[in-house]
Structures are given as structure tokens and as C-alpha cells.
């Protein structure tokens, strides 16, 4: 759906056209759900968080100026909602070697003993392990690592999505990576097993 079509739907939704509002939800759902899956806090269900975000989008729809594409505007609301939700769940669990699955532990061992890249078959376990490590970080740190290193977005894209300045994105990324490294090293130490 093109941007002018989306703006027409926005106008119609604001003029009490429920069908247009439903079409907006259907069009934007994959985008919002993808963001929610990447940044969802552990104790909130995906559907609840998506609904919360859509309600926020519609409540603020009249203030959508049209200066940026609708999808960027919605993405920013989604990202900020996820950050707020994660921040409200203050608990950041400590990760221990004993809590890891067999595959995740094998990855730690492989990385410690070899300088070769991991096997592509290990990507799901690697992803799980990274998510455990991300859980130990603050919401903003978690977000910046996910966007830059897992989703492969550029600093500019992260800047647009979060509203942070480019230097702030870089500083946060550096600090987040340092913290992640500390947790990872702690996990890798043999005496902690």
C-alpha cells in the first residue's frame, strides 16, 4: 500500500470510518508485531502489547503531521512503548551457565576453544543465548544491540527509529556491548560453571 493510500486511510479513520481503521490495523500489524517480537518484555503477551500500541497509535492519529512516512511514525511509537514496558518490568535476571540449554552451553565452549565461526546449524541456539544475554541489559541497551547487531540496521536507521542522536546511538552501543561482554565473560569462566 502506497503512502498516499495510507494517508487516505488515516483521514477516513479520523472521519469515523471503521473499515478504514481496520484496514490500517491489518496493514500495520506485521510491522508492529515484528518490533514487539524483537523487544517484548518477558511478562507481557505479544498480542496485549500490540493492542496497546495500536490504541496509542489511534489515540494520537490526529496529531500525525504527515512529515514522515506513517510506518516510521508507527515504528517509533511501537519501539517507545516496548521500551516503557520493559522498563516497567524492572527485574533483569542474572544468567548462569547452569541455566543454559545443552546447545547454548556447547556454543560457549566452542567459542572459548576455537577461533572459527559457529556452524550455521547453531544459529537458533546462538540467538537464544544472545536473548538471555540481552535480558540482563537495560531496555535502551537491549534495543540498541538488537537493532544494530541482530537486525543489522545502520546508525542512521536506529536514530530515526528511536529519536536518539547519532553520537548517542554510538555511545549507547559501545556501552551496551561492554556490559554484554562482561556478562558473556562471566558466563564463559570455568570457575562459574
Amino acid at each position: 500500500m502506497s503512502e498516499p493510500d495510507l494517508r487516505d486511510l488515516v483521514r477516513a479513520a479520523l472521519a469515523n470510518d471503521d473499515e478504514a481503521a481496520r484496514q490500517l490495523v491489518q496493514h500495520l500489524y506485521p510491522l508492529v508485531a515484528k518490533i514487539v517480537r524483537s523487544h517484548r518484555p518477558r511478562r507481557t503477551s505479544e498480542e496485549d502489547l500490540c493492542q496497546m500500541i495500536f490504541i496509542k497509535v489511534f489515540r494520537n492519529l490526529s496529531s500525525f503531521s504527515g512529515q514522515v512516512p506513517l510506518e516510521h511514525w508507527v515504528s517509533r511509537i511501537a519501539v517507545n512503548s516496548c521500551l516503557n514496558q520493559i522498563a516497567s518490568e524492572k527485574v533483569r535476571p542474572e544468567i548462569r551457565y547452569a541455566d543454559l540449554s545443552e546447545d547454548e552451553a556447547a556454543i560457549i565452549d566452542h567459542l572459548a576453544s576455537s577461533s572459527e565461526d559457529l556452524n550455521p546449524d547453531q544459529r537458533f541456539a546462538a540467538r537464544e543465548l544472545v536473548e538471555h544475554l540481552l535480558d540482563t541489559l537495560k531496555p535502551a541497551d537491549r534495543l540498541v544491540i538488537d537493532l544494530l547487531y541482530l537486525q543489522g540496521r545502520s546508525v542512521n536507521e536506529v536514530r530515526e527509529l528511536t529519536g536518539w542522536s547519532a553520537p548517542l546511538v554510538k555511545v549507547r552501543a559501545f556501552r551496551a556491548r561492554q556490559k554484554m561482554k562482561q556478562h558473556f565473560e562471566k558466563l564463559s569462566r570455568k570457575e562459574n560453571r
Binding site: 490495523v25 515484528k34 500490540c50 577461533s115 544472545v130
Partner: protein, 103 residues
């Protein structure tokens, strides 16, 4: 790049290759539910309703204050209109008595 950096880099690189399961469409009835909640104005939970109630009470109270103020002012004006002619009559009587004594 030291050893821990390199290990973390390799871990992140492999993790990024894990395909994310793309959500295809909204669950059944999700769009209708969102629109209904939005239209009902309950997007913020119960808080939104309380705020709207308080706002209505304040507007109604302000309206009542204005109406009662206007009524009080009107009453005051009417009382003054009644009192003032009487004052004049007393003044005329006083003046007549005074002029009677003077004669």
C-alpha cells in the same frame, strides 16, 4: 579486538543469521477489537474514563457557578431598583418636612 570481543562478535554474527518468524497477519478479530476499544475511548484503561468524568464535573461546576453568579447579580440589581425609589421618597419627605419647619 581482544578475545572476548571476538567471541561476542562471532556469537552476534551467528545469532543474526537466525531467521525471524515474520508475522503474516493480525489474529482473527484483532482489528475489530482495536477499533472498538479506540472508539469507546478506553485505550488508557479506567484512567481515561476517570479523567473524562472529572473534566465533565469541572465544566458542570463552572457552569453552575456562572449561572448562580449571574442570578445573584440580577437579584442584587433588582433589590437596588426597589430600594432606590424608596430612598428618593424619604428624601422628598425629609425635604418637605425641613421646608415646613423653615417656614
Amino acid at each position: 579486538m581482544n578475545d572476548a570481543d571476538s567471541r561476542l562478535q562471532r556469537l552476534l554474527k551467528t545469532a543474526a543469521q537466525a531467521p525471524a518468524d515474520e508475522p503474516v497477519s493480525a489474529p482473527f478479530g484483532f482489528d475489530t477489537r482495536v477499533v472498538a476499544v479506540w472508539r469507546a475511548g478506553h485505550g488508557n484503561g479506567g484512567l481515561n474514563g476517570v479523567v473524562r468524568l472529572i473534566r465533565r464535573v469541572v465544566v458542570l461546576a463552572a457552569f453552575l457557578i456562572l449561572v448562580s453568579g449571574a442570578a445573584a447579580f440580577h437579584e442584587y440589581q433588582a433589590t437596588r431598583d426597589i430600594v432606590e425609589p424608596g430612598n428618593n421618597e424619604f428624601a422628598i419627605a425629609d425635604s418637605a418636612i425641613q421646608s415646613e419647619f423653615d417656614q
